[in-house]
């Protein structure tokens, strides 16, 4: 398969609309180490369109057992090292990162408020004591 032939099929390849033989041929061409003339770019662009089309469907939350089974299989495969796998975390997209940042900011603000409260409480207490003491002197002076 030539690069032009691949690019002609890139859209159907991304939609998984090619018959098995053509699909395999396209996959082999794309994976080959030959110098390509825009094949990977054409495939990436078409895949992006295909991925966006999925947004036309409302998301559906899987039943809880689905994650449990995934976790069990990952645990079995990796001997419990599931959370230590860094590669997938590097793949968390911008939205997830942004939300994590919001959560972090929320925690920082909460921590600052608690710190401020703890710092101010004894001071207020001392001020009240001073006021009551001086107030008492003033009242006694009169």
């Amino acid at each position: 398969m030539t690069c032009d032939e691949f690019k002609e099929r890139a859209a159907a390849f991304a939609l998984v609309a090619l018959d098995d033989g053509e699909r395999d041929a396209c996959a082999r061409h794309l994976a080959s180490a030959l110098p390509h003339l825009g094949c990977r770019e054409a495939a990436a662009e078409a895949e992006l369109v295909a991925a966006h089309l999925g947004a036309a469907l409302a998301p559906e939350r899987p039943a809880p057992h689905v994650w449990r089974e995934i976790a069990d299989r990952l645990y079995a495969a990796r001997g419990g090292a599931v959370e230590a796998h860094e590669g997938i975390h590097a793949g968390i997209d911008e939205g997830t990162r942004r939300r994590s940042l919001y959560h972090l900011c929320g925690w920082l603000v909460a921590a600052a408020l608690v710190g401020l409260y703890l710092y101010n409480t004894p001071l207020d207490h001392r001020l009240l004591q001073m006021l009551s003491t001086h107030g008492g002197h003033l009242v006694a002076g009169h």
Binding site: E8, A11, A12, A14, L15, V16, A17, L18, D19, D20, A44, E45, A46, E47, L48, V49, A50, A51, H52, L53, G54, A55, A56, L57, A58, P59, E60, R61, P62, A63, V66, W67, E69, I70, A71, R73, L74, A77, V82, E83, H85, G87, I88, H89, A90, G91, I92, D93, E94, G95, T96
Partner: protein, 166 residues
């Protein structure tokens, strides 16, 4: 991994269920998708559309493979409707939901902007998992015409959705 699952599994399930028309099989696909994602994590290339694109691509390819191997494409195609089904899910956070609805609306508008025969071809290929040959048989159009419609439709969608890609 749990974080990635929580974020993207609902999309994977939606597309798998749309293609397979069966919740249990679609949930199997979600499992396979995330196990594959785990295995292939080092190959992830963020420049190619983000993690959600990767998840949807894997889930869809696996669902189509299962559909074709079970030889139920004809049955599913007969049941196929003109527009995608919508299934409710538990309420997400308002910001995510607003973002999702915006994208959903843009995609719906882009699909609506296609000529009817191109739109139908994309719906049969993308949402029902039919191959170009199956689409030609189903619609009675020549295979070459179907191929051209797929190519033109994807090209047009790329232009209509390009703002979303950046």
């Amino acid at each position: 991994m749990r974080l990635v699952y929580e974020e993207h599994a609902p999309r994977a399930l939606a597309i798998a269920r749309r293609i397979l028309r069966n919740v249990e099989e679609a949930e199997d696909i979600v499992q396979e998708t995330f196990l594959e994602l785990w295995r292939r994590a080092p190959q992830f290339d963020g420049r190619r559309g983000g993690l959600v694109s990767w998840v949807v691509t894997i889930a869809r390819s696996r669902a189509i493979d299962r559909l074709r191997s079970s030889a139920t494409a004809g049955r599913v195609a007969d049941e196929a409707s003109a527009s995608p089904e919508v299934h409710p899910t538990s309420p997400p956070c308002p910001m995510t939901e607003t973002e999702r609805r915006l994208t959903e609306s843009k995609v719906a508008d882009a699909l609506a902007a296609l000529p009817p025969e191109q739109r139908r071809t994309i719906q049969l290929a993308y949402f029902d998992g039919l191959s170009q040959t199956e689409i030609a048989a189903k619609t009675g159009s020549p295979l070459g015409t179907v191929k051209m419609r797929v190519k033109l439709a994807v090209e047009k969608l790329k232009n209509l959705l390009k703002d979303d890609f950046s």
